[in-house]
Symmetry: C2
Subunit: 344 residues, 2 copies
């Protein structure tokens, strides 16, 4: 049977004090005498009291929760970032809510509703493809100070963000291929409007130019981060007259899709063609061949995003403005087996 849950009143009665004292024991214990504090805590234990979040939230006008907006929960990269965020909240007094952006644009429910329904105090957005309308809604409703972007970010919008050093990641990848002896390097991009696509492609092309490598239009292949776009890109590469000897992919998933197509068409990786990915998801180490890739520090990204968000929330409560300089997290090249010297 569910026994009646103790309310703050019950604790107060048990301890022989007022509700105010009980409340203070929880939020400002230093205001109380050692003796009363002990009595109150004893009463809390004996009654099994738990603060009712709804009541507290109503009174304090807070929600005690933050929302993480994920473009695609099924994608291991995002779910691992999510794990990082979840871990970073750790013992803090916040619940983590999640929403998949796909569900909500279709369901007619806007993300801003979470704020307006007083359900969340802030949001970490992993999806840079927020529509301008949605952003305008945030602005109009005065909640844009409680949003930080992580990994991706909204183009042209000065909101706080945490991101990997995508440009450097691309440079590292190209440079590594160059050092192995490759000159004909292709790139499979993300979706056209995506900010990561842009950063990584520019980083790649800048490095290619710097190293005076040949650039062919068809070596920049449009993808969308997915396994399937890697597969399709592979088909395009197979059909080329002047094939690249190496491919830098905008994500590990794309690299897997690519390698899958290449190998099932008789090309060997890395003997016939080298492949480099981006992300270093857990599986990359266990692919055949193990994937050489640019590592994003998911734990760090998550932790930084959380602390940035908490800072934003603090600032927005004291109605300060908040610096919007992006936080850049360093990346590493993880050298494994999928890239090797070209087979002249």
């Amino acid at each position: 049977m569910a026994q009646k849950i103790a309310r703050i009143q019950d604790v107060a009665r048990a301890a022989g004090v007022s509700t105010a004292t009980v409340s203070r024991a929880l939020s400002n214990p230093e205001l109380l005498t050692e003796a009363t504090r002990q009595t109150v805590f004893a009463a809390i234990r004996s009654t099994g009291y738990r603060v009712n979040r709804a009541a507290r939230n109503l009174r304090t006008q807070q929600a005690g929760a933050i929302l993480v907006l994920v473009p695609n929960l099924g994608n291991p990269f995002f779910s691992q970032i999510l794990a990082g965020i979840s871990a970073a909240f750790g013992s803090r007094d916040y619940s983590v809510l999640i929403a998949d952006t796909k569900d909500h644009t279709t369901g007619g429910k806007h993300v801003v509703d979470y704020f307006l329904d007083a359900q969340i105090d802030g949001m970490i957005c992993l999806d840079g493809a927020i529509s301008p309308e949605e952003l305008q809604l945030f602005e109009d409703n005065g909640v844009s100070g409680k949003i930080v972007f992580a990994c991706e970010w909204a183009h042209d919008v000065a909101l706080p963000s945490v991101r990997s050093d995508n440009v450097r990641g691309a440079q590292l990848a190209v440079r590594h291929l160059y050092d192995l002896g490759h000159r004909k390097i292709a790139h499979i991009t993300g979706p056209q409007e995506n900010v990561l696509t842009h950063a990584r492609r520019e980083g790649m092309m800048a490095e290619r130019t710097r190293l005076e490598l040949p650039a062919r239009e068809e070596w920049i292949i449009r993808g969308d981060f997915s396994l399937d776009s890697g597969r399709k890109a592979g088909e395009q590469i197979l059909a080329m007259n002047d094939r690249p000897t190496a491919v830098f992919c905008c994500s590990d998933q794309v690299a897997f899709g690519l390698m899958s197509t290449l190998t099932s068409n008789g090309l060997r990786v890395p003997e016939d063609i080298s492949v480099v990915g981006f992300d270093d998801i857990e599986l990359s180490e266990f692919y055949v061949p193990a994937l050489t890739t640019v590592r994003q520090d998911r734990r760090e990204l998550g932790a930084r995003a959380v602390s940035l968000l908490l800072d934003c929330i603090d600032a927005s409560q004291s109605s300060q403005t908040f610096a919007t300089e992006p936080v850049i997290v360093d990346v590493d090249l993880v050298v494994r087996a999928s890239a090797a010297a070209p087979n002249w």
Copy 2:
């Protein structure tokens, strides 16, 4: 600037009715005259009113949220189930909270706290390894009627659950290998205490017995669902004198880890050894070789879990008892390239 958010009072004033009428317009519109209903909705629109969840929750003694307890967010299988659950809630009036079991057992915070703090109305648990103490806590606090298990389930505990037909999945896998001509079939299990481990291993061994296949002790290798345990199992297999010709793995991740080790030691899959997985995560199609595996219907599992949970919550509100017969979701064998006829 954040304008003052409209309260139900403001709407009532704007519409020239009482707060009760506004509240009814939202929850029981059929009680109102067409005319007043229109007026109220117009006022809601013009004021931009949103119901304050904290206030509603306090008054109705509900939380408007459910918790999904995930053993490991980084694991694509779980995150895809989570996506299914999230999608299944869709437009319903619930928020989805997540927690990684690892964080909480370490953080000292118990899952039951979510219930007791009146933050959630129910829970979907994807982790069968809930400690007896925790379960007892649920029982003691009368919340065990608001919990359903999905995929995994707690051993010896009669709580509602949704699960794949694990035994049949194992049978399908073994049967497929048998039909290809394999007789020496090994199995990499999950962690020892896990319910899935047990179901799949028993299914596998029963089928092996039925088909009168040889059974060697060392062909049952203990793993833990992870990539790394697949790798270790691979090393064990490589060291065997009497090697199996096929391996049925308890998860796709294990299969990847295994294939990674086998191939980097010069064995070819499937020419030298066949491999079958379990789960059919998205990547399985794109591994090299593409993985033959037992498909779990994630969308269906998620959807069933959600509707089962909602039924439980309803029942527990009207203090009915609820049937605890597990819901079994069918599985399919997906035949790809990682299993082929043995190379005698």
